[in-house]
């Protein structure tokens, strides 16, 4: 169980305010009373109650009320009796103080007769108020405790969410590796014999690509420029593999290049477009990448003219993109896959550009 740390400034400040408040109450009831006396008396009394309240705090810290459930009845009773006891003791001490202050002489023996005579009236007048004070102490403790617990949980949830987003991002970059890598290596081993320059080119492109995926800092957001450069490394390799079957058109306006987008968000979508839109068609196809700015944010489009998206056939790549976007933008993003069989697929990504997660 976490301890509720002290906020002693507030604690004593509130007791002091209560003392001043009670003093005004006394002055209203006894307009003829001396103001200094009333002030001193009330501050002393409230100070005493504050000290006793510490016991209630200590008790609450060791036996906090966890819920309104019946199983907690023992704890409720404990705090009820403790607060009644503390209120009673507090009033007794307060009365004692008032007699001492009135007599003004600390050496003089206590006027026992006055004490016994006045005490019941004092209790009748102030006990209920005092009990409320003590309850307020216990309630404030629990209020603060619940608040801090809530805060801690919120922080923990945010931390988990960040970690999850990072894991998702890692999944995005790892998901693409194996087959792409093996096929590319196979292409290179063909090129070394027939076209050494081509092999050279492909190895350096692959190097760039691997540097970005394996070596990149674990940033969640990168500039559109960087994301595009990464995609172009990837596409350059695919273009050597698929040759004239793969045609690529990129329309990314220069003024959008500094906008921030989630890293590795485009590659799975491009890979999907190649897989469904191109690899399955002997005659190949055209891949179009477009970016534009709308009032709502940045719009990215990935379009192929392949076999068309079949709903319900979403693979790991798309699922990863979806959850990554959800984590980063919390529903403010839009992710649509439009297409019909035989007429290609258009993936539209709308990313907000304001606030956290955005650019």
């Amino acid at each position: 169980m976490e301890r509720v740390g002290p906020r002693w400034g507030w604690y004593w400040g509130i007791w002091t305010l209560m003392g001043l408040y009670m003093a005004t109450w006394d002055l209203v009831m006894y307009p003829s009373a001396s103001i200094p006396r009333v002030l001193v008396m009330n501050l002393l009394q409230n100070g005493t109650w504050g000290l006793l309240g510490l016991f209630l705090l200590w008790l609450a810290n060791h036996h906090p009320i966890e819920s309104f459930a019946w199983s907690q009845w023992r704890t409720w009773c404990l705090h009820l009796f403790a607060s009644v006891g503390v209120a009673a003791l507090g009033l007794f001490l307060a009365y004692l103080l008032s007699i001492l202050v009135d007599s003004g002489d600390w050496q003089k023996p206590l006027d026992m007769a006055r004490l016994v005579k006045g005490l019941p009236r004092f209790y009748r007048a102030y006990f209920h108020t005092n009990l409320l004070f003590m309850w307020a102490v216990v309630a404030a403790f629990h209020g603060l405790r619940i608040y801090r617990k809530y805060k801690a949980r919120e922080i923990e949830a945010a931390r988990l969410e960040t970690r999850f987003a990072e894991a998702q991002n890692l999944a995005l970059r790892m998901q693409l590796q194996p087959h792409f890598l093996f096929n590319t290596l196979n292409s290179i081993s063909a090129l070394v014999h027939t076209n050494p320059d081509g092999a050279d080119e492909m190895i350096s492109r692959l190097g760039d690509f691997l540097r970005t995926t394996l070596d990149a800092p674990q940033e969640q957001m990168v500039s559109l420029r960087r994301e595009l450069a990464f995609i172009q490394d990837y596409l350059a390799i695919e273009q050597i593999r698929f040759q004239e079957r793969l045609r690529v058109e990129v329309q990314f306006p220069a003024e959008l290049m500094d906008l921030r987008v989630p890293s590795f968000i485009l590659q799975p979508l491009v890979e999907n477009a190649l897989k469904h839109g191109l690899a399955n068609r002997p005659q190949g196809g055209t891949l179009r990448l477009r970016a534009r700015k709308e009032p709502g944010g940045l719009v990215l489009e990935i379009q192929d003219d392949g076999e068309g998206f079949v709903p319900g056939r979403e693979g790991v790549g798309l699922a990863n993109v979806r959850s990554q976007l959800g984590l980063l933008y919390k529903g403010r993003q839009q992710f649509d896959i439009l297409g019909s069989l035989g007429h290609g697929t258009l993936v539209v990504l709308r990313l907000p550009l304001d606030g956290e997660g955005g650019a």
């Binding site: 087959h179 096929n183 196979n186 063909a190 090129l191 050597i240 040759q243 002997p282």
Partner: protein, 143 residues
Amino acid sequence: MNLRALVVDDEMLARQRIRHLLRRATDIDVAGECANGLEAVKAIEDFSPDLVFLDVQMPELDGFGVVEAVGADRMPPTLFVTAYDQHALRAFEVHALDYLLKPFSPERFHQALDRARRWCLHQSTDKGPDLEGLLAGLRKERP
């Protein structure tokens, strides 16, 4: 008589690599190349090659689709060539002779060719490819 081989892969470079490696095998001729499954089915039915190098991931009809379309019984001895190792078990179920994982070394390729030669020589007496041995080899390749 030389063995006639058919090379099926949608990637030109992948076909080129096999063709290149086959140059060293003087007893094997490349009788044809196909860039997708449908072409492959047609070629197999047209001139029934002695040996097929078959990619798994292809447009129109994948490698297993080719075997299905031709019929496992009438399918010529087949060497699967792919970057996906998870298809290996299924490949042997359709009586693949071997399963080459891209990228493969020339040694591994010629080992597969030896297997194919033995198979073609002893086709009448042999019980079939040594599945256990092949799978064990595959496991060694990809720990």
